[in-house]
C-alpha cells in the first residue's frame, strides 16, 4: 500500500497478527512439544511449556511398534501412486482441452467438476461391496484407484488452467521456424508445462495424504495409511499423550512442509480457478 502508516499503528497491528497466528498454530506447536516429553510430563499439572526434560522416548516407543513404519509406507505409496496415476490420465486430457478446444470442451469440464460434487457416502455401499467381491478391500492398489478417481477432476482442472496460460503465439513461432509437431511438444510446450504439473502434483499429494473417508472405510489393518493408524489411537491409547503426539508429528510434518510451499496452488486448485 502506498499510503504512509505510522510506525506505532504498524507495531500494534503486528502484535495483534502475531498473537492470532500463534493461537491458531498453537495446537500444532503443543503437539510438537508434547512429543518430546515423557508420558508423566505430558499429563503433568500445571503443564510445562519449554522447561522439561527433552527426550525422544515417545518417538522410540512409536517406532518400535513395528506397524508405524508400515503405515507410513502405505501413506507414501497411496498418495504418490494415486497422484502419478492421476497425472498420467489427466495430462493428455487437459492438454487436449487446452490446446485443441472443441465446442463441448466447456461442458466436459463442468461435467468432470460435477463428479467431484458426489458425496462419497452416497456411493460408499456399492464401492464397498465391489471391493469386497474383487478382493480389493484393505489393499493399497484399491485405495490408489479410489483416491485417483476422486482427485482426477481437481487434477484435470488445475492442469487445464495452467495449460491455458501457455500462449498460443509461441507455437506459431515454433511452427514458422519449421518445428515438427513432436519437437514442438518436447522442446516448446513441455518445458512451459512442467511448473504447472509440479504444482498440481504437490497439491494432490497433500489431498491424498490427508484423505480420511475412503482410507478409513476401505481399510482394516494391512493397507491402512496414517489417517487410519492415527484413528486407532482414538481409545484408549490416545490417553498416552506423548506417544500420540510423536505419531501425529511424524504423520503431519512432511505434508505441513510441502503445504507451506504450495499456498498459492492451493487457492487455485481448490477453487477450480474461480479465485486467482
Amino acid at each position: 500500500m502506498a499510503r504512509a502508516i505510522s510506525t506505532q499503528r504498524r507495531v500494534w497491528l503486528t502484535a495483534l497478527a502475531w498473537t492470532i497466528g500463534f493461537l491458531i498454530f498453537f495446537p500444532i506447536l503443543w503437539t510438537f512439544l508434547t512429543s518430546f516429553k515423557t508420558e508423566g510430563e505430558a499429563i503433568a499439572s500445571p503443564p510445562s511449556f519449554l522447561f522439561f526434560d527433552w527426550n525422544l522416548s515417545a518417538y522410540e516407543a512409536v517406532n518400535q511398534r513395528s506397524d508405524y513404519p508400515k503405515h507410513f509406507f502405505n501413506s507414501v505409496v497411496i498418495s504418490l501412486g494415486s497422484t502419478v496415476l492421476g497425472l498420467l490420465i489427466a495430462v493428455p486430457a487437459a492438454w487436449a482441452m487446452a490446446f485443441v478446444p472443441g465446442k463441448r470442451t466447456k461442458d466436459v469440464l463442468m461435467w468432470m467438476l460435477s463428479t467431484k460434487m458426489l458425496p462419497p457416502v452416497g456411493v460408499l455401499i456399492p464401492i464397498y461391496l465391489l471391493f469386497r467381491d474383487l478382493g480389493l478391500l484393505d489393499t493399497r492398489i484399491g485405495l490408489v484407484i479410489v483416491l485417483m478417481l476422486i482427485n482426477l477432476p481437481i487434477i484435470i482442472w488445475m492442469l487445464y488452467t495452467y495449460f491455458k496460460e501457455i500462449p498460443g503465439e509461441i507455437l506459431e513461432a515454433a511452427r514458422m521456424d519449421g518445428a515438427l509437431l513432436w519437437s514442438e511438444i518436447f522442446y516448446v510446450l513441455t518445458p512451459m508445462a512442467v511448473p504447472g504439473i509440479a504444482s498440481t502434483m504437490l497439491l494432490n499429494i497433500i489431498l491424498a495424504w490427508n484423505e480420511a473417508f475412503w482410507t478409513l472405510t476401505l481399510t482394516a489393518a494391512k493397507a491402512a495409511p496414517l489417517t487410519a493408524f492415527i484413528a486407532s489411537f482414538s481409545s484408549p491409547e490416545g490417553l498416552f499423550y506423548a506417544k500420540l503426539s510423536a505419531a501425529s508429528t511424524m504423520a503431519i510434518a512432511p505434508i505441513l512442509i510441502l503445504g507451506w510451499f504450495s499456498q498459492k496452488q492451493l487457492v487455485r486448485g481448490l477453487t477450480f480457478g474461480a479465485v486467482k
Binding site: 492470532i20 498454530f25 468432470m112 473417508f213 507451506w260
Partner: protein, 278 residues
C-alpha cells in the same frame, strides 16, 4: 486424448450411483445374504421416519452453518489484518495456514485428548488455574466441540482465499474514496465487501461440499454420540450400512445425501461456469 479420463469418470459416476439407487429399493441385509427382495419405497420410509434421521439432518445443518459462520467472519477479519503492512507477514501467513494441512484424524484426536479432555486436557488445566470446574466438552457439548475442531481446520482455507481476493483489490479506488471523505467503515462496506462477494460465495459453496461429508472428526471424537447428539447424515449412513449391515436403508440414505449435495452443487457450478472462458 480425453477419452480415458472421460470413460473412467463416467464409470466412477454411473456404476456406483445406479447400484446405490438399485439397492435403495431392495430389502438387503449383509447378515442375511441371498434374500434380497424388492420393497419399493419401504427403505425410504424407514430411513425418513427414523428419529435419528431427523436428528442427523438437523446436526448436519447446524454443523455446516456453524462452521461457515465462524470461518467466513473469522476469515474476513484475519484476511483484513494480514493485508495490513505488518512485520513478518510471511511467517504469520505460514502459522495461520498450517491447520489446513493437518490430517483430520490427527486434529480431531489432538483436540479431543490434549485440549478437551476433562482431566488432563489443557482447557481443564486452564479452568483449574482460574478456579473454575472442568468442563467435559465432548460429553456435554459434542456438536459445538466438533464445530470448533472443524472450523479450526477450515479457517485457514477461507482466510487464504479471501486474502488472495483482497490483494487483487484496486487501491486507487480506496484512495479516491478516502480523499472524498469516506470513513474506513463505509469504505469497507461499499468497496471491500462487494469486491469480496465473489470470493465469499466460492468459499461458502466449496466448504459446504466438504462440510456435508464431515466424517473422520466424528468417528474419532464422539462416534456420533452421546445418543445421536453429534451424528450427521454421512455418519448415520455409515452406521446404517457398515455397522448395522442394512444395505437397503443405507442406500436410501445415500440417495438422500446425493440429492442434498446436488442442490448445493448446482449453485457452485453456475458460479464457476460463468467464470470459464473456454
Amino acid at each position: 486424448m480425453i477419452s480415458p479420463a472421460v470413460i473412467l469418470l463416467l464409470g466412477w459416476m454411473i456404476i456406483p450411483l445406479s447400484l446405490t439407487i438399485y439397492f435403495s429399493f431392495l430389502r438387503y441385509n449383509l447378515l442375511d445374504p441371498g434374500n434380497e427382495t424388492f420393497t419399493g419405497f419401504l427403505n425410504y420410509r424407514f430411513f425418513l421416519t427414523d428419529p435419528s434421521f431427523f436428528a442427523a439432518i438437523t446436526n448436519t445443518f447446524v454443523l455446516v452453518l456453524g462452521v461457515l459462520v465462524i470461518t467466513i467472519i473469522g476469515g474476513i477479519l484475519l484476511a483484513l489484518l494480514l493485508d495490513q503492512p505488518i512485520f513478518g507477514q510471511g511467517i504469520v501467513r505460514i502459522l495461520v495456514i498450517a491447520p489446513f494441512f493437518v490430517m483430520p484424524t490427527v486434529s480431531a484426536l489432538v483436540w479431543k485428548n490434549m485440549f478437551m479432555n476433562p482431566v488432563n486436557g489443557l482447557f481443564a488445566h486452564l479452568a483449574s488455574g482460574l478456579g473454575l470446574p472442568a468442563f467435559d466438552f465432548l460429553a456435554h457439548a459434542p456438536l459445538a466441540s466438533i464445530i470448533g475442531i472443524v472450523a479450526w481446520q477450515w479457517l485457514p482455507f477461507a482466510t487464504l482465499i479471501l486474502l488472495t481476493a483482497l490483494q487483487s483489490q484496486d487501491t486507487e479506488q480506496h484512495e479516491a474514496a478516502e480523499m472524498d471523505g469516506a470513513s474506513a467503515l463505509s469504505r469497507f462496506f461499499y468497496l471491500t465487501v462487494p469486491h469480496l462477494s465473489r470470493a465469499i460465495t466460492v468459499v461458502i459453496l466449496i466448504q459446504t461440499i466438504f462440510l456435508l461429508s464431515v466424517f473422520a472428526e466424528i468417528l474419532v471424537t464422539t462416534n456420533g454420540g452421546p445418543g445421536t447428539a453429534s451424528t450427521n447424515l454421512t455418519y448415520l449412513i455409515y452406521v446404517q450400512s457398515l455397522l448395522q449391515y442394512d444395505v437397503g436403508a443405507g442406500s436410501a440414505g445415500g440417495v438422500i445425501a446425493i440429492i442434498l449435495a446436488n442442490i448445493v452443487a448446482i449453485f457452485l457450478m453456475r458460479m464457476i461456469g460463468k467464470n470459464l472462458d473456454a
